[in-house]
């Protein structure tokens, strides 16, 4: 029975891993990029690079809002911080139309003209929605469940876990060394892979497992949210009244928190008698992702509510999602997550590669049987890398004044990815296809700092001189990635030869 169980789990691991591996690689890689989403967004907006840390002028922001959106129903002021140095104001009109946004210099409140870009947020949204809105969220959820099953079955079949981990044999047969790579990257970061996948599902529990909401809240998650968050919801009266000083309210909120920084301020019905001001605390100094909130009467300045998250299940939930979102501000941990995410991406990619190599080495038949899989491997793994690099290139190359510029950057990403997919399908020699795409990705990444030098003033010579590690970090990481990919391409070039030999030698053995 035990053997049979292990065999079933092996089957499930192999086929579940294969069918969902491409999706999971995309989710993991874009998730890894999301670890540094704010740094990427900052790098992609060179117009903001002249900002230096300065005290925030909330009054200036409020004045801009009063000037630009006096009749709006909702105002937001997002305060700057280390990872996002600009101040952002946004508003939404009474008829629930489009939300508008402006970026301000935090010291003067002057509106800054910044090139349109989605920045790192593009990878963040792609990571959990695959650019497909709610349907995409479901697909990602399904993939995450298969990932959990793949991790569990992986543990079952590799129960010689520690022995496997310490055996990495890069010079052994191709299949053996890829298997070792797959096992090593899986086992080394197993706690991370399990936690990141589980917590990812927990974030969207209300979409994936809404049973409790259906029973207790008439199927409306909004009802539960209102109960938990205890937002003060006051209707507009229509009587005009002057808004209290937002800067003063923000100061008073900070006193309630005993330390901590404000993340954003929301004003509902500004200029009305029932104006309500929410001052929300930044959740970057604790693991639990809870944004404490103080709600004020916008006219009189009275405190209407002080909300801190509570309840053991809610706190557990907040820690779990905090572990995934990583708003916790700690540079070393952030880099660790980046490294672990890359390891997870390598684990998934080596799994898909292993599937092909195992079959290629074991029999000579049907190139077409695994040709589709190999093409998909190249298109997804190498192609995505090329597309990511192309996205960064498009940010520097698309002119700033093109309307819908942010959309054009995304289109460049998808177009390049499609071209890579076509190349992967049409190229007859798979190892050449791998090599060509990896070299393309390597070149695009490695040359990005050079492109930066030519197109902006935020290149390495400047950023290293002033020790701006957020910006220099992006350029340096691209150089490192480019170097690694060149190394991978070279390695694949070397390894193609033994594989061909083994196929031709088995043809000779099979003989007439």
């Amino acid at each position: 029975m035990k053997d049979s169980f292990t065999q079933s789990m092996d089957w499930l691991h192999t086929w579940g891993g294969l069918v969902f591996g491409w999706l999971l690689f995309v989710i993991f890689l874009t998730g890894t990029l999301t670890v540094f989403d704010k740094e990427i967004t900052y790098w992609m907006q060179p117009e903001l690079h002249r900002l230096t840390p300065s005290p925030v002028n909330i009054q200036a922001a409020a004045d801009q809002l009063a000037r630009l959106a006096p009749a709006a129903d909702d105002w937001w002021i997002e305060l700057p911080h280390f990872r996002t140095p600009e101040l952002t104001i946004s508003w939404q009109d009474l008829d629930q139309g489009q939300q508008e946004q402006r970026k301000l210099d935090p010291a003067t409140g002057e509106i800054m003209t910044v090139r349109g870009t989605r920045g790192g947020e593009f990878f963040y949204r792609f990571h959990y929605q695959l650019h497909l809105d709610r349907l995409g969220t479901w697909v990602v959820g399904a993939a995450a469940m298969v990932m959990l099953a793949a991790l569990a079955t992986g543990i079952v079949i590799h129960h010689r876990i520690f022995k496997d981990f310490f055996a990495f044999r890069p010079q052994a047969s191709l299949q053996r060394s890829w298997l070792d790579a797959h096992n090593a990257t899986g086992v080394l970061m197993l706690p991370f892979h399990v936690v990141i996948t589980f917590t990812g599902l927990v974030i969207f529990w209300m979409i994936y497992m809404p049973g409790g909401v259906d029973v207790f809240y008439e199927g409306e998650f909004g009802n539960m949210l209102a109960e938990v968050e205890q937002r003060v919801d006051r209707k507009r009266t229509g009587t005009p009244a002057s808004l209290a000083s937002l800067a003063a309210l923000e100061q008073r909120a900070k006193i309630q928190w005993n330390g901590g920084v404000t993340e954003w301020i929301q004003v509902r019905h500004p200029g009305d008698l029932h104006a309500t001001v929410d001052v929300v605390r930044r959740a970057d100094d604790r693991l639990a992702l809870i944004s404490d909130r103080v709600t004020f009467d916008g006219t009189t300045g009275d405190v209407l509510k002080v909300w801190k998250g509570e309840g053991p299940a809610f706190l557990t939930y907040s820690v779990l999602i905090g572990l995934h979102y990583l708003w916790f501000d700690h540079a070393t941990i952030r880099w660790l997550y980046f490294f672990m995410g890359l390891t997870g991406s390598v684990m998934i990619a080596t799994g898909s590669l292993l599937w092909v190599i195992k079959r290629r080495e074991s029999h000579t038949s049907n190139h077409s049987e695994y040709r589709i899989v190999e093409s998909l491997n190249i298109a997804v793994v190498a192609g995505l890398l090329v597309a990511v690099a192309a996205f960064f290139w498009s940010n520097r190359l698309w002119p700033s004044d093109v309307p819908g510029r942010a959309v054009w950057e995304m289109r460049t990403f998808f177009l390049v990815w499609c071209l890579c997919a076509v190349h992967a399908c049409l190229r007859r020699d798979c190892s050449k296809a791998w090599k060509e795409q990896l070299v393309a990705a390597a070149a695009l990444f490695a040359l990005l700092p050079l492109l930066n030098l030519v197109t902006t003033d935020s290149h390495l010579f400047v950023t290293l001189a002033v020790c701006d590690w957020r910006l220099a970090g992006v350029d340096l990481t691209c150089l490192a990635v480019g170097g690694s990919l060149f190394g991978a391409a070279w390695r694949i070039g070397r390894q193609a030869v033994p594989a061909q030999q083994s196929i031709s030698s088995s043809i000779v053995e099979a003989g007439p």
Partner: protein, 100 residues
């Protein structure tokens, strides 16, 4: 699944049935158990909803493994549907009693 020379034979009907059991049957079991758990947990309702939902994904993973570990696809389905129906049967009167 039948054993031939130590390697498993997997007729596509068996695979399809188990995949459906894992995906749909597993979801059905997880959904009904989560609802049942939400109803019986002695916590304030938002807490109970959250606690049960967080546990649900572990159960679903187990259900997926079961669907492929069971000795036949019939057993896979039974092992998921019977507890699912059981949870529903218990949960419905509970829901009517507890929810105003």
């Amino acid at each position: 699944m039948g054993n031939v020379n130590g390697r498993k034979k997997h007729p596509w009907q068996d695979v399809a049935s188990r995949v459906a059991a894992a995906a749909l049957g597993g979801y059905g079991l997880t959904y009904s158990f989560t609802t049942f758990l939400t109803l019986i947990l002695p916590l304030p309702r938002s807490e109970a909803v959250l606690a049960a939902a967080m546990c649900s994904f572990i159960l679903y993973t187990g259900a997926i493994l079961w669907a492929f570990a069971a000795s036949s696809s019939r057993q896979a389905w039974m092992g998921l549907l019977v507890p699912a129906v059981g949870c529903c049967v218990v949960a419905v009167p509970l829901a009517l009693a507890v929810v105003p």
